[in-house]
Amino acid sequence: MSARKLSAPQPNPETQTFWDGLGEGVLRIKTCEACGKPHYYPRHVCPHCGSDRTRWLETAGRGEIYSLSVMRRGEGAPFAVAYVVLDEGPAMLTNLVADDLDALAIGQRVRLAPQASDAEATGDGPSLPFFTPSGD
């Protein structure tokens, strides 16, 4: 089975701070000073109210599995695709890493586990916001 390629995301002016945070082990999302609601993935303009008064919010990097599906076929399989609902509110699409993918379940608590993207090995790519069971 061939290794899975984790293509490096391209940071841009809207998202550079997000990717910088992961390099420091911190998961940042955006929140809005106009409506008070957080969002993920991060945008300059709030998707809830349209205000541009958004700012970065450092999360605790913890949450709960909303749903998951383990890909069993193809490059790099098996791997677990999931939605994690952060304790701060927003759900985010991610991957789960665990010794036993079959033991992962909806409702399970997870924590951030930054994963190197392929380009990171060569020094240019950012870390990816993967999650892993936290046992709490």
Binding site: S67, S69, R72, V81
Partner: protein
């Protein structure tokens, strides 16, 4: 403006090929267009409106109108993934009602088995947050199925009944990619692709295409074909909404369906035949709930025990075999959904699966990625007596 009886589907054609290594995509488009126009009793010179989506190569309508030799006064290249062509029927009716055209040609074609095809435009704002995730359609729809099972107790065996019903229909379709009848056991014992979806929970991948001709009611009356009228239409989109609106057990069809039924002035109980987009078994189950054929969470019970099989079940669906067994050209099942609904309303479906006195049908679809962001389109069609 209501779309009720604003336009009629006069022509429908499904290309018989499922593998086209020696054809081009524009050629397939042209053959589909010719097939639908011949079916309607019209010709290229009658077409004054052209509808296509991103499967049309090059500059879309600009390239294809010139390639086909059309002269039109209205174009529409609305793109909403696989359900686009259901939506195009409604948009054609809008254009006809507004006087912008009177004979609209809608076409789809592609060769995903024979050539590498580009499915997404680059530069999506979500791309940097999702490309590395490995969100194929399998895992996207798999997450919907997993959450549906978690919340409502839906089982793999119940999902399997959707494939079983499609296979019962496909055996009567000489063009079907998978004409063999399968059992629930065969579905749940087929290899797991992305939990909880097995290989036989997935649709086929095919080269091919199809086309539709939508005309004004006045023109429809002059043609020597049954008059199939649009009664109502709805469309909607749905996404994670910044992460606060995620609910993988409800599709955008929960909005498009009720909109279509309200405009048509009919209810799900009135429907004689349903074309339900079937990229995966779970896609069908969720849309049946979202359109109101059963309550949310009751889809598993609704589809079990052959309830979708024509002749014995309560709601005959996808009597051509659907995307699950017959055809899913260019990864897009919208146009074949409309085509089989037209066949049923005309009484031209395969005799073994023809619904008696089929005068009211629904065609509904999902486009994009159900587990991420997607669109839905629903139309209600009636045969005029």
């Amino acid at each position: 403006m209501s779309l009720r009886n604003a336009a009629c589907i006069a022509g429908a054609f499904e290309h018989p090929t499922r593998l086209a290594p020696d054809m081009t995509t524009p050629q397939l488009h042209a053959e589909c267009a010719a097939g639908a126009l011949a079916d309607a009793g019209l010709s290229l010179t009658d077409v004054d409106g052209y509808f296509c989506a991103t499967d049309a190569p090059g500059f879309g309508p600009i390239s294809m109108i010139d390639y086909l030799g059309l002269t039109v006064r209205h174009t529409d290249s609305t793109e909403m993934g696989g359900c686009t062509y259901i939506q195009h029927v409604a948009h054609a009716a809008e254009a006809i009602a507004a006087g912008k055209c009177s004979v609209a040609l809608i076409a789809l074609a592609g060769r995903p088995r024979s050539e590498a095809v580009q499915r997404f435009r680059p530069g999506a704002p979500e791309a940097a947050f999702e490309q590395w995730v490995g969100l194929t359609n399998h895992t996207s729809y798999g997450m919907c199925a997993a959450r549906h099972m978690h919340d409502f107790g839906t089982t793999s065996e119940q999902l399997a009944w959707i494939k079983v019903a499609a296979s019962h229909h496909a055996q009567h379709n000489p063009h079907a990619m998978l004409p063999k009848v399968v059992t629930v056991e065969e579905v749940v014992n087929s290899p797991m692709i992305a939990d909880p979806l097995h290989r036989l929970d997935c649709c086929v991948t095919t080269d091919g295409g199809g086309a539709l001709v939508v005309v004004s009611p006045e023109i429809a009356k002059t043609l020597n074909r049954p008059v199939i009228s649009l009664l109502g239409a709805g469309e909607a989109t749905k996404g994670p909404s910044g992460g606060l609106g995620l609910d993988l057990t409800v599709s955008a069809a929960a909005q498009s369906g009720p909109r279509a039924f309200e405009e048509a002035g009919v209810t799900p109980a009135d429907i004689k035949y349903a074309s339900i987009y079937d990229s995966f078994t779970i896609t069908v189950l969720m849309q049946l709930e979202d359109l109101g054929f059963c309550a949310k969470g009751e889809g598993g019970k609704f589809v079990a025990d052959g309830n979708l099989i024509s002749g014995t079940g309560k709601l005959p669906f996808n009597t051509d075999g659907g995307g699950l067994c017959n055809n899913h050209p260019m990864f897009r099942g919208g146009i074949t959904k409309v085509i089989e609904a037209v066949r049923q309303l005309r009484g031209e479906a395969a005799p073994a699966v023809q619904v008696p006195n089929c005068d009211l049908a629904v065609a509904t679809g999902i486009g994009g990625s159900l587990g991420a962001r997607h669109g839905a389109a629903t139309i209600i069609l009636e045969r005029q007596s």
